[in-house]
């Protein structure tokens, strides 16, 4: 018999790939991956695990940074893993196969550390899937010497109570310095026992090890300067489509606009800009090394970058010559910003998305959105006049103080957009997406109650029913999902048990409409004897002890409370970059925030 010069791969892994949806999720071998450091057996091996599918996880810029940062260290090596979709999970479980990392195909349990990022509450059950498929005990207390240490970072770790039973070490805040300290210390400690390693990790600033420090021990968020932070022109490029399929360069971190519902706007403070020359250099390098056709200049609000116009001028010739389109995520409804965006060829291809968030000026003031009726109208006019025929609008329902007139206001804004669009182009279309308000930790609205599932549902249906036009589409987030999101976002230690129960009943990918099943969670709440509405529907008071009070994110609780009082009075708080300091608590570290505006 003739031997083929290539492998037909008669193995289990291939059988699995051949039988699942989107097998490219599991193959790895992306452009940009670096060789494993196999010659160094003493290195600390960490697997960056993203508790959602590949297309979502690969879009996360944080792991792009951490991957190359860890590769650059000589004490550690890194690989990646993503949550398997239930079809793949089923095959792995049925064949008693362990979940493996993407590049080296090493079982996750053979790593020293597994690092999860807690970007979204509804990914919680996927963490358990990934642990279970690796035969790692779900609960921290049941893990032994041979089990990896499970660490977690991201916004969720700043309100860690619901995750605490499953995570050994929480990493608070920016990871660039913390992860280096952690890996170096573990490298030194590689011959020590697990408990001793955890002791050591507990001493690192920003690390919270519940088993060592005890429940709700004080911990402070780490903040790095973006100017000094690790940055690289290397880039992992997937071979199949992902959600944000572009090369991204961070232009600044943090946002001081001060929207009162927004967790990102509080927990990533202060604003830290990256020098425009450096952005430019990184962008060119990343495009050359990745070959991407699209560049994203990312931040929480890129139009607020003080040097945006200069940067675009500077990058222009390079982008044109290489046929690169540029995109700016999260546009504000601010006519000046729109002017800049409208000039970009890259923005022409897509519909534009804006987030007025609320339908009336009163409510926009309550949430401190800082966008006026006039801004909205001017922006929409500018957009349709410039030739777009499609806009997408994001709103929230169930915000504190919301009344009937505010819901009518949402319908009015949608109708306004539609009529402005129609006056320029008969085929203009408007789509609106309405999310239920979820109170989040470390925000001025952390004390506020969430609407009940029934209220959110009837509000959503009412808004949908306002429109019959073919070119207006209104959709709203599934209220039961927003409800579970709030339970986890505001939950205490008891919620961990519920997550585990729900997972045991089969809850998976709860952020996905096609897999979410509220009945599994309801059974879990009953089993745990917990009334979830106690967590979501009860307004809290200043004196209440919050489960995340032990986490110092920099913004003080008093500032948040003042913001809440101002919200209820409809008073605005201006952005400190253009006005006086608001005393949010980060005064000592926010020098470079103002620098761009002073110069």
């Amino acid at each position: 018999m003739k031997d083929l010069s290539f492998d037909l791969c008669w193995n289990k892994q291939w059988d699995h790939l051949a039988r699942v949806r989107r097998p490219s999720r599991y193959i790895g071998e992306e452009w940009g991956t670096l060789k494993p450091k196999d010659d160094r057996r003493d290195l600390v091996k960490i697997c960056l695990a993203y508790p959602d599918v590949y297309e979502v996880g690969m879009s996360y810029i944080g792991y792009q940074i951490l991957y190359y940062l860890i590769k650059s260290l000589d004490v550690a090596d890194v690989d990646r893993a993503y949550a398997p979709w239930p079809d793949m999970e089923g095959l792995l479980a049925q064949d008693n196969e362990h979940l493996r990392s993407l590049e080296t195909k090493r079982p996750l349990r053979d790593f020293d550390l597994i690092g999860f990022t807690l970007q979204y509450e509804l990914n919680a059950t996927n963490i358990l899937t990934m642990l279970a498929l690796s035969s790692i005990p779900l609960r921290s207390e049941d893990r032994g010497e041979d089990d990896p240490i499970i660490i977690a970072g991201g916004p969720g770790s700043l309100a860690p109570a619901p995750y605490a039973p499953f995570i050994d070490v929480f990493c608070m805040g920016d990871g660039e310095e913390l992860i280096v300290e952690m890996l170096s210390s573990l490298f030194e400690a590689r011959f020590l026992k697990r408990s001793e390693k955890l002791q050591l990790m507990s001493k690192i600033d920003g690390c919270y090890v519940p088993a060592v420090a005890g429940p709700r021990a004080s911990v402070k968020r780490r903040i790095v300067s973006l100017q000094d932070a690790f940055a690289t022109t290397s880039y992992l490029v997937p071979s199949d489509k992902i959600v944000h399929d572009r090369a991204s360069v961070e232009v600044f971190r943090g946002c001081s606009r001060g929207c009162r519902f927004c967790q990102a706007g509080m927990i990533y403070r202060p604003v830290r800009y990256r020098d425009p020359q450096k952005v430019s250099r990184l962008a060119e390098g990343i495009i050359r090394s990745s070959g991407y056709e699209e560049l994203g200049l990312v931040s929480l609000s890129t139009c607020d970058y003080p040097w945006l116009e200069g940067l675009l001028d500077d990058l222009g010739p390079f982008l044109t010559e290489n046929r690169i389109i540029l995109s700016l995520p999260s546009l504000r409804m601010d006519p000046k910003a729109i002017d800049i965006a409208l000039k970009l060829e890259g923005m022409r291809k897509k519909g534009l998305t804006f987030a007025p968030e609320a339908g009336t000026q009163r409510l926009r003031n309550v949430i401190n959105k800082g966008v006026t009726e006039e801004d909205i109208e001017k922006t929409l006019k500018a957009v349709f006049e410039a030739g777009w025929n499609k806009v997408k609008l994001y709103f929230m329902m169930g915000l504190p103080t919301e009344g009937d007139e505010d819901l009518c206001g949402i319908a009015d804004v949608i109708r306004l957009a539609y009529s402005i669009g129609r006056s320029y182009n008969k085929r203009s279309s408007v789509s609106a997406s309405i999310a239920g308000f979820v109170p989040k930790a470390h925000t001025p609205f952390q004390w506020e109650a969430q609407n009940s599932v029934e209220e959110l549902k009837s509000k959503g249906l009412w808004l949908k029913s306002r429109f019959r036009e073919k070119n207006i589409s209104v959709s709203f987030h599934e209220p039961t999902q927003s409800f579970i999101e709030a339970v986890i976002a505001r939950g205490d230690e008891r919620v961990g048990d519920v997550i585990e129960k729900a997972w045991r009943y089969g809850a998976r990918f709860d952020g996905w409409g096609e897999t979410f099943d509220i009945s599994l969670w309801q059974k879990a709440f009953e089993d745990c004897n917990l009334d979830p509405r106690e967590i979501t529907s009860k307004p809290l008071s200043y004196d209440d002890v919050l489960p995340w009070d032990h986490v110092d994110v920099g913004v003080t609780k008093d500032f948040l409370w003042c913001e809440r009082v101002k919200a209820l009075n409809g008073e605005l708080t201006k952005d400190c970059r253009w006005n006086g300091c608001n005393g949010c608590g980060l005064e000592d570290v926010c020098f470079d925030a103002r620098s761009g505006h002073d110069s």
Binding site: S239, G291, R323
Partner: protein
């Protein structure tokens, strides 16, 4: 100028869908510094025309693509292999005057491999009436199959009919390799390059 390339798609990269190949190639070419021709119009994109679709999960030794270049000569394409993801390799490049792939390609040969010799024999009997030619291959438990009109026919057909007949239970029980793509000359498929 237009470069016609013949490339192989082996290993797990065969799970990357055919429709993603133009993006994958154009990113690789940008990394290699090869200048591509872009289409005109509202949203210009690199001009690439692929050969007949290859289903996800099918390996190939002989995929074809025409790539429009803003370059003086084809030697620039020599570097492309250094910038392609693992499993993809350009094996031949030539220039083409423009007769499209869809007009030039009318035959394809496949290697079908099974877990046992018996399965291969049963499969041969079942698919014989549906294809141009089938004979056993020198590869263990393998069959060589020729199908005409590769733009209209797909090797997924084998999986469907063989699953229906109970020879295999799914894609996991068969390996399919496209081994030749080109002109059907009455007895054999001849490469275009």
């Amino acid at each position: 100028m237009i470069a016609r390339i013949l490339y192989e798609k082996l290993g797990p990269v065969c799970f990357v869908p055919h429709v993603e190949m133009p993006t994958l190639f154009s990113r690789s070419m940008r990394r290699a510094g090869i200048r591509q021709t872009f289409t005109e119009g509202m949203s210009p994109h690199p001009k690439i025309s692929l050969g007949p679709p290859l289903p996800v999960g099918v390996l190939s030794l002989c995929e074809l693509a025409d790539i429009w270049l803003d370059e003086e000569d084809l030697s620039c394409m020599n570097q492309l292999n250094d910038y392609l993801p693992k499993g993809l390799k350009v094996k031949k490049v030539c220039s083409t005057d423009g007769r499209s792939l869809s007009k030039s390609c009318d035959g394809a040969r496949y290697l079908l491999c099974f877990k046992t010799k018996k399965k291969a024999e049963t499969a041969a009997a079942i698919i014989a009436s549906h294809v141009e030619k089938v004979d056993s291959s020198s590869v263990e438990n393998g069959l060589n199959v020729i199908m005409l009109k590769p733009y209209q026919t797909s090797p997924t057909f084998f999986v469907k009919v063989l699953s229906f007949e109970g020879v295999i239970s799914s894609w996991g029980d068969i390996r399919i390799v496209r081994t030749m793509l080109g002109r059907w000359e009455g007895h054999e498929v001849i490469s275009l390059l």
